[in-house]
Symmetry: C2
Protein backbone atom coordinates (compact mmCIF):
# COMPACT_ATOMS: atom_id res chain seq x y z
CA UNK A 1 0.00 0.00 0.00
CA UNK A 2 1.13 3.58 -0.58
CA UNK A 3 0.88 5.34 2.76
CA UNK A 4 1.31 9.09 3.19
CA UNK A 5 2.49 10.84 6.31
CA UNK A 6 1.95 14.57 6.55
CA UNK A 7 4.11 15.94 9.34
CA UNK A 8 7.36 14.14 10.17
CA UNK A 9 7.74 14.56 13.93
CA UNK A 10 7.81 11.99 16.72
CA UNK A 11 4.48 10.37 15.78
CA UNK A 12 4.74 10.69 12.00
CA UNK A 13 8.34 9.53 11.96
CA UNK A 14 7.60 6.57 14.23
CA UNK A 15 4.63 5.53 12.10
CA UNK A 16 6.95 5.63 9.09
CA UNK A 17 9.41 3.17 10.62
CA UNK A 18 6.70 0.65 11.49
CA UNK A 19 4.77 0.96 8.23
CA UNK A 20 7.90 0.54 6.12
CA UNK A 21 8.82 -2.54 8.13
CA UNK A 22 5.36 -3.92 7.22
CA UNK A 23 6.31 -3.56 3.56
CA UNK A 24 4.33 -0.44 2.76
CA UNK A 25 5.70 2.31 0.54
CA UNK A 26 5.82 5.38 2.78
CA UNK A 27 5.65 8.93 1.42
CA UNK A 28 6.46 11.75 3.80
CA UNK A 29 5.74 15.46 3.64
CA UNK A 30 7.21 18.07 5.93
CA UNK A 31 7.28 21.85 5.71
CA UNK A 32 11.05 21.74 6.11
CA UNK A 33 13.39 20.38 3.49
CA UNK A 34 15.93 19.40 6.19
CA UNK A 35 13.31 17.27 7.96
CA UNK A 36 12.52 15.54 4.67
CA UNK A 37 16.19 14.70 4.19
CA UNK A 38 16.58 13.46 7.74
CA UNK A 39 13.47 11.26 7.50
CA UNK A 40 14.76 9.59 4.34
CA UNK A 41 18.29 9.24 5.74
CA UNK A 42 16.98 7.65 8.97
CA UNK A 43 14.81 5.24 6.98
CA UNK A 44 11.53 6.50 8.39
CA UNK A 45 10.11 7.15 4.90
CA UNK A 46 10.87 5.94 1.37
CA UNK A 47 10.43 9.36 -0.20
CA UNK A 48 9.88 12.81 1.23
CA UNK A 49 9.01 16.25 -0.08
CA UNK A 50 7.91 19.68 1.08
CA UNK A 51 5.29 19.47 -1.71
CA UNK A 52 1.98 17.90 -0.72
CA UNK A 53 1.39 16.66 -4.26
CA UNK A 54 3.76 13.78 -3.39
CA UNK A 55 0.81 12.34 -1.44
CA UNK A 56 -1.51 12.22 -4.50
CA UNK A 57 -0.71 8.52 -5.00
CA UNK A 58 -1.28 7.54 -1.36
CA UNK A 59 -4.10 5.11 -0.51
CA UNK A 60 -4.26 6.43 3.04
CA UNK A 61 -2.70 9.51 4.65
CA UNK A 62 -1.86 10.02 8.33
CA UNK A 63 -1.96 13.72 9.26
CA UNK A 64 0.62 14.09 12.03
CA UNK A 65 1.12 17.83 12.30
CA UNK A 66 0.73 19.80 15.54
CA UNK A 67 -2.95 20.05 16.40
CA UNK A 68 -3.38 23.67 15.34
CA UNK A 69 -2.28 22.80 11.79
CA UNK A 70 -4.37 19.68 11.21
CA UNK A 71 -7.46 21.36 9.74
CA UNK A 72 -5.67 24.00 7.61
CA UNK A 73 -3.23 21.39 6.27
CA UNK A 74 -6.06 19.00 5.38
CA UNK A 75 -7.82 21.83 3.55
CA UNK A 76 -4.74 22.19 1.34
CA UNK A 77 -4.06 18.48 1.12
CA UNK A 78 -7.43 17.49 -0.33
CA UNK A 79 -6.90 19.66 -3.41
CA UNK A 80 -4.26 17.07 -4.42
CA UNK A 81 -6.25 13.88 -3.76
CA UNK A 82 -8.64 11.58 -5.53
CA UNK A 83 -11.90 10.85 -3.66
CA UNK A 84 -10.80 7.28 -2.86
CA UNK A 85 -8.01 8.41 -0.53
CA UNK A 86 -8.53 7.75 3.15
CA UNK A 87 -7.44 10.50 5.57
CA UNK A 88 -6.86 10.01 9.25
CA UNK A 89 -5.23 12.24 11.86
CA UNK A 90 -3.39 11.69 15.14
CA UNK A 91 -4.59 14.76 17.03
CA UNK A 92 -4.97 14.51 20.80
CA UNK A 93 -8.39 16.21 20.69
CA UNK A 94 -11.07 14.84 18.40
CA UNK A 95 -14.40 16.71 18.38
CA UNK A 96 -13.26 20.01 16.79
CA UNK A 97 -11.12 18.16 14.24
CA UNK A 98 -13.80 15.68 13.24
CA UNK A 99 -16.39 18.44 13.05
CA UNK A 100 -14.16 20.49 10.75
CA UNK A 101 -12.90 17.74 8.46
CA UNK A 102 -15.93 15.44 8.10
CA UNK A 103 -17.85 17.93 5.92
CA UNK A 104 -14.76 18.35 3.72
CA UNK A 105 -13.81 14.72 3.17
CA UNK A 106 -16.07 11.70 3.19
CA UNK A 107 -13.31 9.13 3.76
CA UNK A 108 -11.98 10.68 6.95
CA UNK A 109 -11.54 8.72 10.20
CA UNK A 110 -10.41 10.58 13.32
CA UNK A 111 -7.70 8.86 15.30
CA UNK A 112 -5.51 9.32 18.36
CA UNK A 113 -2.55 7.05 19.05
CA UNK A 114 -1.76 7.58 22.74
CA UNK A 115 1.96 7.15 22.55
CA UNK A 116 4.58 9.72 23.21
CA UNK A 117 7.88 10.46 24.79
CA UNK A 118 9.26 13.55 26.48
CA UNK A 119 11.10 14.28 23.22
CA UNK A 120 9.75 15.50 19.91
CA UNK A 121 10.86 15.79 16.29
CA UNK A 122 11.96 13.29 13.66
CA UNK A 123 15.14 12.48 15.61
CA UNK A 124 12.98 11.28 18.53
CA UNK A 125 10.99 8.91 16.29
CA UNK A 126 11.36 5.25 17.19
CA UNK A 127 10.29 1.80 16.06
CA UNK A 128 7.47 0.01 17.89
CA UNK A 129 6.33 3.21 19.62
CA UNK A 130 2.68 2.10 19.47
CA UNK A 131 3.02 -1.47 20.75
CA UNK A 132 0.45 -2.11 23.52
CA UNK A 133 -0.49 1.59 23.54
CA UNK A 134 -4.13 2.70 23.14
CA UNK A 135 -5.12 3.91 19.65
CA UNK A 136 -8.52 5.57 19.66
CA UNK A 137 -10.63 5.74 16.47
CA UNK A 138 -13.65 8.03 16.27
CA UNK A 139 -15.63 7.13 13.14
CA UNK A 140 -19.31 8.13 13.03
CA UNK A 141 -22.34 6.52 11.40
CA UNK A 142 -21.53 8.14 8.04
CA UNK A 143 -17.87 7.04 7.89
CA UNK A 144 -17.41 4.48 5.06
CA UNK A 145 -17.01 1.00 6.59
CA UNK A 146 -14.22 -0.01 4.22
CA UNK A 147 -12.17 3.06 5.19
CA UNK A 148 -12.49 2.15 8.88
CA UNK A 149 -11.52 -1.46 8.12
CA UNK A 150 -8.39 -0.47 6.19
CA UNK A 151 -7.25 1.91 8.94
CA UNK A 152 -7.96 -0.69 11.62
CA UNK A 153 -5.85 -3.26 9.84
CA UNK A 154 -2.93 -0.83 9.74
CA UNK A 155 -3.36 0.10 13.43
CA UNK A 156 -3.49 -3.59 14.36
CA UNK A 157 -0.22 -4.12 12.49
CA UNK A 158 1.35 -1.52 14.84
CA UNK A 159 0.30 -3.83 17.71
CA UNK A 160 -1.66 -0.97 19.30
CA UNK A 161 -4.87 -1.54 21.30
CA UNK A 162 -7.81 -0.18 19.32
CA UNK A 163 -10.68 1.68 21.03
CA UNK A 164 -13.75 3.08 19.25
CA UNK A 165 -15.79 5.96 20.61
CA UNK A 166 -17.48 9.21 19.70
CA UNK A 167 -15.17 12.24 19.38
CA UNK A 168 -16.86 13.91 22.37
CA UNK A 169 -16.39 10.80 24.53
CA UNK A 170 -12.71 10.71 23.61
CA UNK A 171 -12.30 14.35 24.54
CA UNK A 172 -13.98 13.92 27.91
CA UNK A 173 -11.97 10.79 28.71
CA UNK A 174 -8.64 12.46 27.89
CA UNK A 175 -9.65 15.58 29.78
CA UNK A 176 -9.95 13.39 32.91
CA UNK A 177 -6.82 11.35 32.61
CA UNK A 178 -4.47 13.58 30.64
CA UNK A 179 -5.46 17.26 30.54
CA UNK A 180 -6.91 17.66 34.06
CA UNK A 181 -3.82 16.09 35.68
CA UNK A 182 -1.64 18.72 33.97
CA UNK A 183 -3.64 21.59 35.49
CA UNK A 184 -3.98 19.87 38.90
CA UNK A 185 -0.26 19.31 38.98
CA UNK A 186 0.66 22.79 37.70
CA UNK A 187 -1.60 24.39 40.33
CA UNK A 188 0.24 22.39 42.99
CA UNK A 189 3.54 23.91 41.87
CA UNK A 190 2.16 27.45 41.68
CA UNK A 191 0.53 27.10 45.11
CA UNK A 192 3.78 25.91 46.73
CA UNK A 193 5.88 28.62 45.12
CA UNK A 194 3.35 31.15 46.44
CA UNK A 195 4.51 30.46 50.03
CA UNK A 196 5.48 33.90 51.28
CA UNK A 197 7.94 32.93 54.05
CA UNK A 198 11.24 32.41 52.19
CA UNK A 199 12.53 30.10 54.95
CA UNK A 200 9.48 27.84 54.62
CA UNK A 201 9.75 27.84 50.82
CA UNK A 202 13.44 26.92 51.01
CA UNK A 203 12.68 24.18 53.52
CA UNK A 204 9.84 22.82 51.36
CA UNK A 205 12.22 22.69 48.38
CA UNK A 206 14.80 20.84 50.48
CA UNK A 207 12.33 18.37 51.97
CA UNK A 208 10.37 17.55 48.80
CA UNK A 209 10.79 13.94 47.76
CA UNK A 210 9.11 11.28 45.63
CA UNK A 211 5.52 12.22 46.57
CA UNK A 212 5.96 15.79 45.41
CA UNK A 213 8.07 14.72 42.45
CA UNK A 214 5.40 12.40 41.08
CA UNK A 215 2.44 14.68 41.77
CA UNK A 216 4.15 17.67 40.15
CA UNK A 217 5.66 15.91 37.12
CA UNK A 218 3.09 16.63 34.43
CA UNK A 219 2.54 20.16 35.75
CA UNK A 220 6.21 20.90 35.11
CA UNK A 221 6.05 19.69 31.50
CA UNK A 222 5.97 21.44 28.12
CA UNK A 223 3.98 24.72 28.50
CA UNK A 224 2.97 24.85 24.82
CA UNK A 225 1.48 21.37 25.06
CA UNK A 226 -0.47 22.39 28.17
CA UNK A 227 -1.90 25.42 26.37
CA UNK A 228 -2.84 23.26 23.36
CA UNK A 229 -4.79 20.91 25.63
CA UNK A 230 -6.68 23.80 27.19
CA UNK A 231 -7.26 25.53 23.89
CA UNK A 232 -8.50 22.57 21.86
CA UNK A 233 -10.26 20.65 24.61
CA UNK A 234 -11.53 23.72 26.42
CA UNK A 235 -15.11 22.69 27.16
CA UNK A 236 -14.28 19.20 28.41
CA UNK A 237 -11.34 20.46 30.46
CA UNK A 238 -13.44 23.20 32.04
CA UNK A 239 -16.04 20.59 32.98
CA UNK A 240 -13.36 18.39 34.54
CA UNK A 241 -11.77 21.32 36.37
CA UNK A 242 -15.10 22.41 37.83
CA UNK A 243 -15.81 18.90 39.04
CA UNK A 244 -12.33 18.77 40.46
CA UNK A 245 -12.79 22.06 42.31
CA UNK A 246 -15.93 20.63 43.93
CA UNK A 247 -13.90 17.69 45.15
CA UNK A 248 -11.21 19.99 46.56
CA UNK A 249 -13.99 21.90 48.32
CA UNK A 250 -15.27 18.67 49.83
CA UNK A 251 -11.81 17.78 51.16
CA UNK A 252 -11.47 21.28 52.64
CA UNK A 253 -14.90 21.02 54.28
CA UNK A 254 -14.19 17.61 55.80
CA UNK A 255 -10.90 18.85 57.26
CA UNK A 256 -12.50 22.09 58.51
CA UNK A 257 -15.25 20.08 60.19
CA UNK A 258 -12.75 17.53 61.53
CA UNK A 259 -14.90 14.81 59.96
CA UNK A 260 -12.14 12.22 60.03
CA UNK A 261 -14.49 9.28 59.50
CA UNK A 262 -15.79 10.60 56.18
CA UNK A 263 -12.28 11.70 55.15
CA UNK A 264 -10.97 8.20 55.77
CA UNK A 265 -13.87 6.69 53.82
CA UNK A 266 -13.08 9.04 50.92
CA UNK A 267 -9.39 8.12 50.98
CA UNK A 268 -10.34 4.45 51.12
CA UNK A 269 -12.46 4.92 48.01
CA UNK A 270 -9.58 6.63 46.17
CA UNK A 271 -7.25 3.82 47.20
CA UNK A 272 -9.74 1.33 45.77
CA UNK A 273 -10.52 3.32 42.62
CA UNK A 274 -6.98 4.01 41.47
CA UNK A 275 -6.07 0.49 40.28
CA UNK A 276 -8.92 0.64 37.73
CA UNK A 277 -6.96 3.40 36.01
CA UNK A 278 -3.47 2.07 36.47
CA UNK A 279 -3.56 -1.72 36.22
CA UNK B 1 25.97 5.14 74.54
CA UNK B 2 22.75 3.52 75.76
CA UNK B 3 20.07 4.45 73.25
CA UNK B 4 16.38 3.74 73.77
CA UNK B 5 13.81 3.25 71.05
CA UNK B 6 10.16 3.42 72.02
CA UNK B 7 8.08 1.94 69.20
CA UNK B 8 9.66 -0.75 67.04
CA UNK B 9 8.15 -0.19 63.60
CA UNK B 10 9.78 0.77 60.30
CA UNK B 11 11.50 3.89 61.66
CA UNK B 12 12.31 2.61 65.15
CA UNK B 13 13.55 -0.73 63.83
CA UNK B 14 15.68 0.92 61.14
CA UNK B 15 17.22 3.31 63.67
CA UNK B 16 18.08 0.28 65.79
CA UNK B 17 20.04 -1.39 63.00
CA UNK B 18 22.12 1.71 62.28
CA UNK B 19 22.73 2.66 65.92
CA UNK B 20 23.86 -0.85 66.83
CA UNK B 21 26.24 -0.86 63.87
CA UNK B 22 27.73 2.37 65.31
CA UNK B 23 28.50 0.45 68.51
CA UNK B 24 25.68 1.80 70.66
CA UNK B 25 23.76 -0.41 73.07
CA UNK B 26 20.17 -0.28 71.84
CA UNK B 27 17.18 -0.86 74.13
CA UNK B 28 13.80 -1.33 72.48
CA UNK B 29 10.29 -1.07 73.87
CA UNK B 30 7.16 -2.19 72.06
CA UNK B 31 3.62 -2.71 73.28
CA UNK B 32 3.70 -6.22 71.82
CA UNK B 33 5.87 -9.02 73.19
CA UNK B 34 6.04 -10.61 69.72
CA UNK B 35 7.49 -7.42 68.25
CA UNK B 36 10.10 -7.32 71.00
CA UNK B 37 11.14 -10.87 70.19
CA UNK B 38 11.28 -10.15 66.44
CA UNK B 39 13.35 -7.00 66.95
CA UNK B 40 15.93 -8.90 69.02
CA UNK B 41 15.96 -11.86 66.64
CA UNK B 42 16.47 -9.57 63.61
CA UNK B 43 19.30 -7.77 65.36
CA UNK B 44 17.59 -4.38 65.36
CA UNK B 45 17.97 -4.00 69.16
CA UNK B 46 20.20 -5.53 71.85
CA UNK B 47 17.40 -5.92 74.37
CA UNK B 48 13.64 -5.39 74.16
CA UNK B 49 10.72 -5.29 76.56
CA UNK B 50 7.08 -4.32 76.79
CA UNK B 51 8.02 -2.54 80.02
CA UNK B 52 9.14 1.09 79.63
CA UNK B 53 11.37 0.85 82.70
CA UNK B 54 13.91 -0.85 80.41
CA UNK B 55 14.64 2.63 79.08
CA UNK B 56 15.58 4.06 82.52
CA UNK B 57 19.29 3.58 81.72
CA UNK B 58 19.13 5.18 78.27
CA UNK B 59 21.11 8.37 77.60
CA UNK B 60 18.78 9.32 74.74
CA UNK B 61 15.42 7.92 73.68
CA UNK B 62 13.86 8.05 70.21
CA UNK B 63 10.06 7.97 70.42
CA UNK B 64 8.96 6.20 67.23
CA UNK B 65 5.31 5.35 67.87
CA UNK B 66 2.47 6.36 65.55
CA UNK B 67 1.89 10.10 65.88
CA UNK B 68 -1.29 9.82 67.97
CA UNK B 69 0.63 7.93 70.68
CA UNK B 70 3.73 10.12 70.95
CA UNK B 71 2.47 12.51 73.64
CA UNK B 72 0.63 9.94 75.83
CA UNK B 73 3.58 7.54 75.65
CA UNK B 74 6.05 10.27 76.59
CA UNK B 75 3.84 11.17 79.57
CA UNK B 76 4.24 7.59 80.81
CA UNK B 77 7.87 7.30 79.78
CA UNK B 78 9.15 10.26 81.83
CA UNK B 79 8.00 8.69 85.09
CA UNK B 80 10.85 6.17 84.55
CA UNK B 81 13.62 8.60 83.62
CA UNK B 82 16.28 10.70 85.29
CA UNK B 83 16.34 14.36 84.31
CA UNK B 84 19.53 13.94 82.26
CA UNK B 85 17.87 11.74 79.65
CA UNK B 86 17.38 13.29 76.23
CA UNK B 87 14.07 12.57 74.48
CA UNK B 88 13.46 13.05 70.77
CA UNK B 89 10.60 11.94 68.54
CA UNK B 90 10.21 11.11 64.85
CA UNK B 91 6.67 12.41 64.30
CA UNK B 92 5.80 13.81 60.87
CA UNK B 93 4.11 16.86 62.45
CA UNK B 94 6.04 18.97 64.94
CA UNK B 95 4.15 21.95 66.42
CA UNK B 96 1.50 20.05 68.45
CA UNK B 97 4.07 17.55 69.69
CA UNK B 98 6.68 20.13 70.66
CA UNK B 99 4.01 22.25 72.35
CA UNK B 100 2.80 19.29 74.39
CA UNK B 101 6.15 17.77 75.38
CA UNK B 102 8.37 20.84 75.92
CA UNK B 103 6.58 21.83 79.17
CA UNK B 104 6.92 18.23 80.41
CA UNK B 105 10.57 17.58 79.65
CA UNK B 106 13.39 20.09 79.45
CA UNK B 107 15.75 17.89 77.45
CA UNK B 108 13.36 17.27 74.55
CA UNK B 109 14.28 17.93 70.90
CA UNK B 110 11.61 17.46 68.22
CA UNK B 111 12.74 15.58 65.14
CA UNK B 112 11.45 14.25 61.83
CA UNK B 113 13.51 11.85 59.74
CA UNK B 114 11.93 12.02 56.27
CA UNK B 115 12.51 8.46 55.25
CA UNK B 116 9.92 5.83 54.64
CA UNK B 117 8.85 3.01 52.43
CA UNK B 118 5.45 1.78 51.34
CA UNK B 119 5.76 -0.93 54.01
CA UNK B 120 5.53 -0.64 57.78
CA UNK B 121 6.36 -2.69 60.87
CA UNK B 122 9.57 -4.15 62.28
CA UNK B 123 9.85 -6.60 59.37
CA UNK B 124 10.07 -3.63 56.98
CA UNK B 125 12.93 -2.04 58.92
CA UNK B 126 16.17 -1.76 56.98
CA UNK B 127 19.76 -0.65 57.38
CA UNK B 128 20.85 2.74 56.00
CA UNK B 129 17.25 3.93 55.62
CA UNK B 130 18.26 7.51 56.50
CA UNK B 131 21.30 7.91 54.25
CA UNK B 132 21.02 11.17 52.25
CA UNK B 133 17.45 11.70 53.50
CA UNK B 134 16.41 14.93 55.25
CA UNK B 135 16.25 14.80 59.05
CA UNK B 136 14.58 17.90 60.50
CA UNK B 137 15.29 19.04 64.05
CA UNK B 138 13.08 21.64 65.75
CA UNK B 139 14.82 22.80 68.94
CA UNK B 140 13.79 26.17 70.34
CA UNK B 141 15.72 28.82 72.28
CA UNK B 142 15.18 26.97 75.56
CA UNK B 143 16.39 23.56 74.36
CA UNK B 144 19.69 22.67 76.11
CA UNK B 145 22.55 23.06 73.63
CA UNK B 146 24.31 19.87 74.73
CA UNK B 147 21.15 17.83 74.11
CA UNK B 148 20.93 19.21 70.57
CA UNK B 149 24.62 18.49 69.97
CA UNK B 150 24.34 14.87 71.14
CA UNK B 151 21.27 14.25 68.95
CA UNK B 152 22.94 15.93 65.96
CA UNK B 153 25.98 13.72 66.29
CA UNK B 154 23.78 10.62 66.22
CA UNK B 155 21.80 11.91 63.22
CA UNK B 156 25.03 12.70 61.38
CA UNK B 157 26.18 9.12 62.01
CA UNK B 158 23.04 7.95 60.13
CA UNK B 159 24.36 9.98 57.15
CA UNK B 160 21.12 11.95 57.05
CA UNK B 161 20.97 15.62 55.97
CA UNK B 162 20.18 17.76 59.00
CA UNK B 163 17.83 20.75 58.77
CA UNK B 164 16.91 23.06 61.65
CA UNK B 165 13.71 25.06 61.80
CA UNK B 166 10.83 26.07 64.02
CA UNK B 167 8.10 23.45 64.50
CA UNK B 168 5.56 25.66 62.69
CA UNK B 169 7.91 26.14 59.73
CA UNK B 170 8.38 22.39 59.49
CA UNK B 171 4.64 21.83 59.52
CA UNK B 172 4.00 24.40 56.79
CA UNK B 173 6.81 23.03 54.63
CA UNK B 174 5.56 19.44 54.86
CA UNK B 175 1.99 20.57 54.28
CA UNK B 176 3.15 21.95 50.90
CA UNK B 177 5.27 19.09 49.70
CA UNK B 178 3.79 16.07 51.44
CA UNK B 179 0.27 16.59 52.81
CA UNK B 180 -1.17 18.90 50.13
CA UNK B 181 -0.07 16.54 47.30
CA UNK B 182 -2.03 13.71 48.96
CA UNK B 183 -5.26 15.72 48.94
CA UNK B 184 -4.64 17.16 45.45
CA UNK B 185 -4.03 13.68 44.13
CA UNK B 186 -6.96 12.08 45.99
CA UNK B 187 -9.32 14.78 44.67
CA UNK B 188 -8.13 13.95 41.14
CA UNK B 189 -9.18 10.34 41.60
CA UNK B 190 -12.55 11.20 43.15
CA UNK B 191 -13.25 13.75 40.40
CA UNK B 192 -12.52 11.22 37.63
CA UNK B 193 -14.57 8.47 39.23
CA UNK B 194 -17.46 10.98 39.45
CA UNK B 195 -17.80 10.92 35.63
CA UNK B 196 -21.45 9.96 35.11
CA UNK B 197 -21.24 8.49 31.59
CA UNK B 198 -20.13 4.87 32.16
CA UNK B 199 -18.70 4.65 28.63
CA UNK B 200 -16.50 7.72 29.22
CA UNK B 201 -15.40 6.42 32.63
CA UNK B 202 -14.47 3.04 31.12
CA UNK B 203 -12.60 4.76 28.31
CA UNK B 204 -10.76 7.02 30.77
CA UNK B 205 -9.69 3.96 32.74
CA UNK B 206 -8.47 2.27 29.56
CA UNK B 207 -6.60 5.30 28.26
CA UNK B 208 -4.95 6.39 31.53
CA UNK B 209 -1.18 6.11 31.38
CA UNK B 210 1.94 7.42 33.11
CA UNK B 211 0.68 11.00 33.55
CA UNK B 212 -2.39 9.89 35.45
CA UNK B 213 -0.45 7.18 37.25
CA UNK B 214 2.10 9.61 38.67
CA UNK B 215 -0.35 12.38 39.52
CA UNK B 216 -2.71 9.97 41.32
CA UNK B 217 -0.09 7.90 43.17
CA UNK B 218 -0.04 9.53 46.60
CA UNK B 219 -3.84 10.02 46.51
CA UNK B 220 -4.24 6.26 46.22
CA UNK B 221 -2.05 5.55 49.24
CA UNK B 222 -2.72 4.54 52.84
CA UNK B 223 -6.01 6.18 53.97
CA UNK B 224 -5.08 6.14 57.67
CA UNK B 225 -1.88 8.01 56.95
CA UNK B 226 -3.80 10.60 54.94
CA UNK B 227 -6.20 11.15 57.84
CA UNK B 228 -3.28 11.46 60.28
CA UNK B 229 -1.75 14.20 58.12
CA UNK B 230 -5.03 16.12 58.04
CA UNK B 231 -5.70 15.59 61.71
CA UNK B 232 -2.32 16.56 63.13
CA UNK B 233 -1.35 19.20 60.59
CA UNK B 234 -4.86 20.56 60.14
CA UNK B 235 -4.18 24.31 60.21
CA UNK B 236 -1.18 24.22 57.88
CA UNK B 237 -2.91 21.83 55.48
CA UNK B 238 -6.06 23.97 55.39
CA UNK B 239 -3.90 26.99 54.58
CA UNK B 240 -2.20 25.11 51.76
CA UNK B 241 -5.50 23.75 50.43
CA UNK B 242 -7.06 27.22 50.36
CA UNK B 243 -4.05 28.62 48.50
CA UNK B 244 -4.27 25.67 46.15
CA UNK B 245 -7.98 26.28 45.48
CA UNK B 246 -7.15 29.87 44.54
CA UNK B 247 -4.65 28.58 42.03
CA UNK B 248 -7.18 26.15 40.57
CA UNK B 249 -9.61 29.07 40.30
CA UNK B 250 -6.99 31.05 38.41
CA UNK B 251 -6.43 28.22 35.93
CA UNK B 252 -10.20 27.91 35.43
CA UNK B 253 -10.53 31.67 34.87
CA UNK B 254 -7.69 31.77 32.34
CA UNK B 255 -9.22 28.90 30.36
CA UNK B 256 -12.72 30.40 30.57
CA UNK B 257 -11.37 33.72 29.29
CA UNK B 258 -9.25 31.98 26.64
CA UNK B 259 -6.25 33.89 27.98
CA UNK B 260 -3.72 31.56 26.39
CA UNK B 261 -0.82 33.97 26.77
CA UNK B 262 -1.15 34.18 30.55
CA UNK B 263 -1.80 30.43 30.76
CA UNK B 264 1.40 29.73 28.85
CA UNK B 265 3.34 32.14 31.09
CA UNK B 266 1.95 30.33 34.14
CA UNK B 267 2.92 26.91 32.76
CA UNK B 268 6.36 28.27 31.90
CA UNK B 269 6.76 29.38 35.50
CA UNK B 270 5.74 25.93 36.81
CA UNK B 271 8.19 24.30 34.41
CA UNK B 272 10.93 26.57 35.76
CA UNK B 273 9.92 26.23 39.43
CA UNK B 274 9.68 22.44 39.63
CA UNK B 275 13.42 21.65 39.48
CA UNK B 276 13.96 23.66 42.69
CA UNK B 277 11.87 21.01 44.46
CA UNK B 278 13.08 17.94 42.65
CA UNK B 279 16.77 18.39 41.85
Amino acid sequence: MNIGILGLGLIGGSLGYDLRSQGHHVLGVSRRESTCQTAVALGSVDEASVDMSLLAVADIIFVCTPIALIVPQVEQLITHLSAATIITDVGSVKAPIVQAISPLWERFVGGHPMAGTADSGIEAAQKNLFVDRPYVLTPDATTPKDAIAILEEIVRSLKAKIYHCQPEQHDRAVSWISHLPVMVSAALITACTGENDPAVLQLAQNLASSGFRDTSRVGGGNPELGVMMARYNRQALLGSLQQYRQNINEFINLIEQKDWITLEAKLQSTQQARPFFTD
